[in-house]
Every structure is written in C-alpha cells, then in structure tokens.
C-alpha cells in the first residue's frame, strides 16, 4: 500500500501540487486525471523519486519512505515513461536484463530466463535480439513494461500510456494493464483519456490546475 500525505511541490515558487493526498491499495489501479499542465506528470515524478517534494510524506505499507533517497532497498517503483526511453544501444534482451544483473546481482542466466518469460507474456517473443529502433511504438512500450517488471517493483507507474500510440492500440494497453492487475501488480496510470481511465480504474484522482 502506498500513501501520500499532503504532498506539495513548487517550481520556482509556482505552486503545482497543493497538498495531494492519495492511497493506492495493493493490487489496485489508481488513475490520475486532470487538464494539461495540472501537474499529473509532476506528481508521478515525485512518486518515482525523480523530483524532490517541498513538503509532505510518503508511506509504503505504513512505513515512511523517501522516494528520492530510497535507492538501496528493494525496488519500490517501476516507471513506464511516455516516450519509453529504451536504451538504443542495447538489444531488447539487454535492455531488460541490464538492471537485474547489475543492481539485483542476478546471474545472466537467471535474468535472461525471467526476461524471456516476461517478453513472451507480453507477446514479444522473437524480439529479444532486436534493437529498439527496429520495434513499433506498441512493442517499445511493452519492452518498457517488461524492463520495469524485471526489477520486481512494488508498484508500476505509467505516464500517458496511450498518448504515443495509435488509437486502436488503446485496447491493447488496457488489456496489458488489467492482465498485470490480475497477477497482483499495483499500478498508477496518468492519463487525460477519460474513457480509458474509467475502464481501468479502481480509484481515480483528479488533479486540478492551479490558477
């Protein structure tokens, strides 16, 4: 369970997040919606430790934690970026196994076995030895999901998972997210696509634009 209490964030004095409270229960999907510029991405970046907050507290399973410094314990957050940010110099398999071998100290064989299993699960079999530039947008996104999952995160976050894709791929993303939910993954999804948000959400958080 992830809880945020009174999270405040300013950029150059400008208030972006004004006392955000939220709770995500294990195995549930929280969607974060709101108009452009409201601070959805900023909130996600705070949760994943890419941005410092100005005040407020984070709790994981009731224990306080700091997403920015909490880097030496288990992986808390997996992140699927809007533009995926795969490593272009590494093959799909290397993209997925890099962190598990270097950070979790898994053996190459173990990491590759896990990677192959996850790739298969997300319909990416046969793509292991391709480089990112050889993949379609949807395939890149699924590799990004596999790469995040291989680190065994407690939560998985997505920023606008449907925005960089063809509209007909929306259904596919939805299916993946629901499939991962069925396997018990806790997920946070930022989106401005309301129908999409409603069809996957257990819980919805609306972030309002500050005037």
């Amino acid at each position: 369970m992830l809880e945020l209490k009174n999270i405040t964030k300013r950029f150059a004095g400008k208030l972006i997040l004004d006392g955000v409270n939220l709770t995500v229960n294990d195995g549930q999907i929280l969607t974060i919606v709101g108009p452009s510029g409201a601070g959805k991405t900023t909130l996600l970046r705070c949760i994943s430790g890419l941005e410092e907050t100005d005040s407020g507290d984070f709790f994981l399973d009731g224990q306080p934690f700091n997403p920015v410094t909490n880097r030496n314990n288990d992986t808390v957050m997996g992140v699927v970026f809007q533009d995926f940010q795969l490593f272009p110099n590494l093959t799909v398999l290397q993209n997925v196994t890099l962190a598990p071998t270097m950070v979790l100290k898994q053996s190459k064989a173990e990491a590759e076995a896990t990677a192959q299993r996850l790739l298969k699960q997300l319909n990416l079999d046969g793509k292991a030895d391709l480089y990112p530039y050889e993949l379609s947008g949807g395939q890149k996104q699924r590799v990004a999901i596999v790469r995040a999952l291989a680190m065994r995160p407690k939560l998985l976050c997505y920023d606008e998972p449907t925005s960089a894709l063809d509209p007909d791929l929306r259904k596919e993303v939805e299916e993946i997210i629901l499939k991962l939910k069925a396997e018990g993954m806790t997920q946070i999804v930022v989106t401005h696509d309301m129908p999409f948000a409603e069809s996957i959400a257990d819980q919805m958080l609306r972030v309002e634009a500050k005037s």
Partner: protein, 213 residues
C-alpha cells in the same frame, strides 16, 4: 632502390617515434577528454570556468607555440622536461582539450530521459555512464574523433621543432645530406600509409556502431 633500402632504417626508426607520440597521446587524451568533457557539463561553476579557460587556451593558441613553451619556456622557471616527455605532455594537454570539447557536445546530445530511466532502474551513476551514456556518446562523436586522430598523425611532425627524431626529421636529415628528393617522397608515402590505416580502422568502428540507431 639501393638508396631507398639505405635510408629506410632511419625512416622506420623515425616512424617509431611518430607512432609512439601518436599512440600515447591517444591512449591518454581520449579518457582524459571524457573526464574533462564530463566536468564541463557539471553545475559546479568554478570547475566549468577552469575547464573553459583551459580549453580556450589550448584551442586558441598554436600547438607549435605550446610545444616550444613546454620545452624551451618552462626550463626558465625551473621545470625541465626531456624532449620526448615535453612533446608528449604538450600533445596530451592540447588533444585532451579538443577531445573534451567533442565529448561535451556528445554528452549534451543524450536526452535527460535516458538518465532518468536508468535512475528508476536503480543503476548507479557509474553504471549509467558506462553502459548507457558512453556507448551512445561514442557513436555520436566517432566522426569528429576520427578527424582529430588523422590530424594527430600529421601534427606529430611538429615535434621536429624541439629536436625530437621523428619521421619528418629523419627524412629531412637524409634530404639535406644526400641532396635528393627521395627521402621526402618516402616520408610522404609513410604518412599516407599511416593515415590510410587509421581511416580504415575508423570506418570499421563506425560500421560496428551502425548496428543500432
């Protein structure tokens, strides 16, 4: 033909000096250039300022002047180098500045998102640099580095001025002694061979890095 085989040993020994300057400058300046290039993109102002001044000095004055300064100038204030060390020192200082500038450009071309995605995967800064940033930077800078490598072969002839026995000096000595153009033609051929080998190696490297985009 007889004459050629007569002067060839001295030319080959000169080539040895040229290659040794070339080789060591490259081996030391490239990693140093990466480090200095990294220094240029930090937010630590005193460091970036210092590096800017250094790069400005190295790129704004002739390498020939720097060589003369190190070998003939520094002894005046009590810093004495052997000929070869002076040459190597000046070359490393000079080429590190050029390489640093090239690597800075390459480093700045890497999107912030690459660092962030490495960060959420909990890679350390060093792991990120080694596995993700440097390979991408190398691909970007390879053509510019290639130019500098070719330049370095030719620039190495500047050590002539501090009396080091490189390829050019070997040819010049033979030409002055025997009053013939043959040594200089041979010297030119050897330089052409050296740059041709470098060009081939660089093309290979670029091909290797063309596996991904």
């Amino acid at each position: 033909m007889n004459y050629v085989s007569q002067i060839l040993p001295s030319l080959i020994s000169g080539t040895g000096t040229t290659l040794s300057i070339f080789f060591w400058t490259l081996i030391i300046s490239v990693p140093l250039g990466i480090l200095v290039g990294l220094g240029m993109i930090t937010n630590f102002k005193p460091l970036t300022w210092l590096i800017d001044v250094y790069v400005w000095l190295m790129r704004g004055t002739p390498l020939l002047l720097q060589l003369i300064f190190v070998f003939y100038g520094l002894p005046i204030i009590g810093i004495v180098f052997q000929r070869y060390d002076a040459a190597l020192f000046a070359f490393i200082l000079n080429y590190t500045a050029y390489f640093a500038e090239i690597f800075r450009g390459g480093l700045q071309a890497i999107p912030v998102g690459q660092y962030e995605s490495a960060r959420v995967l909990r890679l350390t800064n060093w792991q990120t640099l080694r596995k993700i940033v440097i390979p991408q930077v190398v691909k970007i800078v390879l053509p510019s580095i290639g130019n500098e490598v070719i330049n370095l072969i030719k620039d190495s002839s500047l050590v002539y001025v501090i009396g080091l026995g490189d390829l050019l000096r070997a040819g010049n000595v033979a030409m002055a002694r025997d009053v013939t153009l043959v040594p200089m033609v041979l010297v030119a051929v050897i330089y052409l061979l050296l740059t041709a080998v470098c060009t081939v190696v660089l093309k290979r490297l670029e091909k290797h890095y063309s596996a991904w985009r």
